[in-house]
């Protein structure tokens, strides 16, 4: 290995200092982008949590007036949007970014600058959405934005239409990036069936995004043109049909919920084997089930419309399709349990969150199957029973899985361990607070409490009031718990115990390289010969199938590892993605306020930025990007 960091040797015209503000703005390093995602997500999670706290404060008792209805409606709308589009999805993107290249043995993603572009679009999209608070009020038409209500100017939903559109572009770009990276950038020997399960789930999620995002894009364009430019897509007065919006939204919306859960499932599938010291049970079935969930997930959208204007035939068809999603999901649940079965389970915080995921997600899944009983869905729909369902799958599922991932990979990112004692306090308070908040909602929902109501109607009775009070108390526990987490996070970054390269005795190749990983990830790209490559380099199997540690370096012929490149060529930082992306702000405001001047400025800005991007070589020293394939272009 001659030079590991080509960067240090080449003089450059662009921000080349490895630290400082500008180095973050210009970074094209997937790891740094992952970290940017993570902190942005935390900030938005805090905001979304504050919004939900206000919601719960208002609903703590019947007929309170902590919030006016105007504010309340903005709160639950922004809470939903924030948690879905600005927290869970980008949280998953943070993991994809940081881990994907490390897990498949690549030096970066296929299109590093496009990757930066995705992040900036995400950030500006979030800022754009939140700027609405200072520009006459936030959107208040709910996160599903049903037309024609949302085409009404007082709903402020133009911000929603444009804001989500921006976030969609970000997601679509990452999806393409990750698909290409997985298909094209795997280390030698890393066949599809040797990929870590997390990579499989990333691939499935990316395909879901790829096919779902364009649909919502169309729905949002229509919504926005109805709202701002008087188009007639959903205006019943002229023959437009509001049901079309519902179809388009849920054609996206249901795949979207699996977009949110599959990454968490991938994380759990990495954590469980490591801490059970066993390989993932039923690897092929797991990969297949994930793909099946994604696939069937495209065919169940109308289960959100069971009480809408659709007839008995579609109701029946979608009911059946919906129920059968439980089959592949069940496969996953049982395979996780059997991964633990017979293992030597170490209950670290990461493992606790993963087990918590399996347990809590099952509850949410079962209430999901109850939703699919169409005749009774008419009682459950738009009540807190649904709110309970989706918080169990989203919070108890997605968020538990993602937090498990934070504890698990924290040492990889920082070289330090998170405090386990605080971690366990965090877990148990989190589990308790979560169930206290959302468990009672099952009951209040069945007792008839509708969702999206700005006050808790007193006529619902004392029982419902009690449940609501419990829910509100749960948020207090959650807030304390979240603060513990944050404290642990910051403290451990500063002064956590050093972790070494492989603190968990892990199985996958991201743990083979230095911790924290160098800019180019691997000095030598490993040649992969089996699933759980790293584990097989550490352990041989005795005749009874029991692993025996092998002396370091003995098992694998280091020479066989590929990539003895003389110079590892990393893409240089670039300011263009950030510059280019900035143009989306004038463009967005222009569209919201029907101001063609702003639209023009934004468009020209972005086109100019695009040319700057294209003209700038990927890496300094190349007079141009390489003529041949395989390069990280774009």
């Amino acid at each position: 290995m001659a030079s590991t960091t080509a960067a240090a040797e080449t003089p450059r015209l662009r921000p080349s200092k490895p630290t400082g503000f500008l180095s973050w703005v210009a970074t094209t390093d997937h790891k740094r982008i992952g970290i940017l995602y993570f902190w942005t997500v935390l900030a938005f999670f805090f905001i979304g949590g504050v919004e939900s706290s206000l919601i719960r404060a208002q609903l703590a008792q019947a007929e309170l007036s902590v919030l006016t209805p105007e504010i309340y409606n903005q709160m639950f709308t922004m809470h939903g949007i924030t948690m879905v589009f600005l927290v869970v999805m980008p949280f998953a993107a943070a993991f994809f970014n940081y881990l994907l290249p490390l897990m498949i043995g690549a030096r970066d993603v296929a299109f590093p600058r496009l990757n930066a572009f995705s992040y900036w679009f995400y950030l500006f999209g979030g800022i754009f959405l939140y700027s609405s608070f200072f520009l006459g009020g936030a959107p208040n038409g709910s996160w599903v934005g049903y037309a024609p209500l949302s085409t009404n100017a007082v709903s402020n939903m133009a911000f929603y239409a444009v804001g989500i559109q921006i976030l969609g572009v970000s997601s679509l770009a990452s999806a393409i990036n990750f698909i290409v990276t997985i298909i094209n950038m795997r280390a030698p020997g890393m066949t599809f069936m040797r990929m870590p399960m997390f990579v499989w789930m990333t691939l499935t999620t990316s395909f879901l995004l790829l096919f779902a995002v364009p649909i919502i894009a169309v729905a949002l364009f229509m919504l926005q043109f109805d709202a701002v430019f008087n188009a007639q897509f959903f205006q019943p007065a002229s023959g437009g049909d509001p049901i079309l919006y519902q179809h388009l939204f849920w054609l996206f919306g249901h795949p979207e919920v699996y977009i949110m859960i599959l990454p968490a499932m991938g994380i759990v599938s990495e954590v469980m084997p490591t801490f059970s010291r066993k390989p993932l049970f039923g690897y092929a079935a797991m990969a297949f089930a994930g793909a099946a969930i994604g696939f069937i997930g495209f065919g169940v959208w109308a289960h959100h419309m069971f009480t809408s204007a659709i007839g008995p035939v579609p109701r029946s068809a979608f009911a059946v399709a919906t129920m059968f999603i439980a089959v592949p999901t069940g496969i996953k649940i049982f395979n996780w349990v059997f991964t633990m079965w017979g293992g030597r389970i170490r209950f670290t915080t990461a493992m606790l969150f993963s087990v918590g995921f399996v347990s809590m997600f099952t509850i949410g899944g079962l209430s999901g199957v109850m939703h699919a009983i169409v005749p009774h869905n008419a009682q459950q729909h738009d009540t807190y029973f649904v709110v309970a369902h989706f918080h169990y799958v989203l919070f108890g599922g997605a968020l538990f899985g993602l937090i498990s991932g934070v504890y698990y990979w924290f040492p990889k990112v920082t070289g330090r361990l998170m405090n386990e004692k605080l971690g366990k306090v965090h877990f148990w308070t989190w589990l308790f607070g979560f169930n206290l908040t959302f468990g009672p909602m099952h009951m209040s929902g069945l007792l008839g409490q509708p969702r999206r109501t700005a006050v808790l109607p007193g006529e619902l009775g004392a029982t419902v009031e009690l449940y609501n009070l419990l829910s509100s108390l749960g948020v207090v526990v959650l807030a304390i718990s979240a603060s513990i987490f944050l404290y642990n996070l910051i403290r451990s970054i500063r002064s956590g115990e050093a972790s070494g390269d492989d603190p968990w005795d892990a199985r996958t190749i991201e743990w083979m390289t230095a911790t924290p990983p160098k800019h180019h990830n691997f000095d030598v790209i490993p040649v992969v010969t089996s699933r759980d490559e790293f584990w097989h380099r550490k352990y041989a199997e005795s005749e009874e199938g029991i692993p025996v540690a092998v002396p370091v370096g003995a098992s694998v012929d280091e020479e066989s590892d590929a990539g003895h490149d003389e110079h590892i060529h990393m893409p240089d930082p670039s300011l263009w993605p950030a510059i280019h992306t900035l143009g989306v702000l004038p463009l967005g405001y222009g569209l919201v306020y029907a101001n063609w001047l702003l639209v023009g400025i934004g468009a020209v800005w972005m086109v100019a930025g695009m040319f700057g991007w294209i003209i700038e070589p990927l890496a300094e020293g190349d007079d141009d990007e390489p003529a041949v394939a395989g390069a990280a272009a774009h």
Binding site: F211, H247, I310, V313, P314, H569, P571, V628, A629, G630
Partner: protein, 110 residues
Amino acid sequence: MSTTGGTAAETAEHEEHAGHHPTPQEYVRIALILAALTALEVSTYYFEFGAAAIPLLIALMVIKFVMVAGFFMHLRFDTKLFGRFMYTGLGFAVVLYTATLLIFVVDANQ
């Protein structure tokens, strides 16, 4: 990331494919066929084709689509993966939107 290794493999592939790529003359011939098909399409506007018109138009559309994708976009010569991607997208679109429109039709009298 590094492209050093790729050069050889890629150029080899290029050469291997080069033979299969149509020549400019062939491209022109394909374009002429496309033009003729278009003329046939437009003729449905001028002449009465009766019940055959719609199936005919759809068939022509599909043929034109496949020809452009196959020859001009090199799907016939490139790796199968690209074609699979495209037809997956197309398939998803056709199935999902047909189902959606069917729901509207089924409920027209509901």
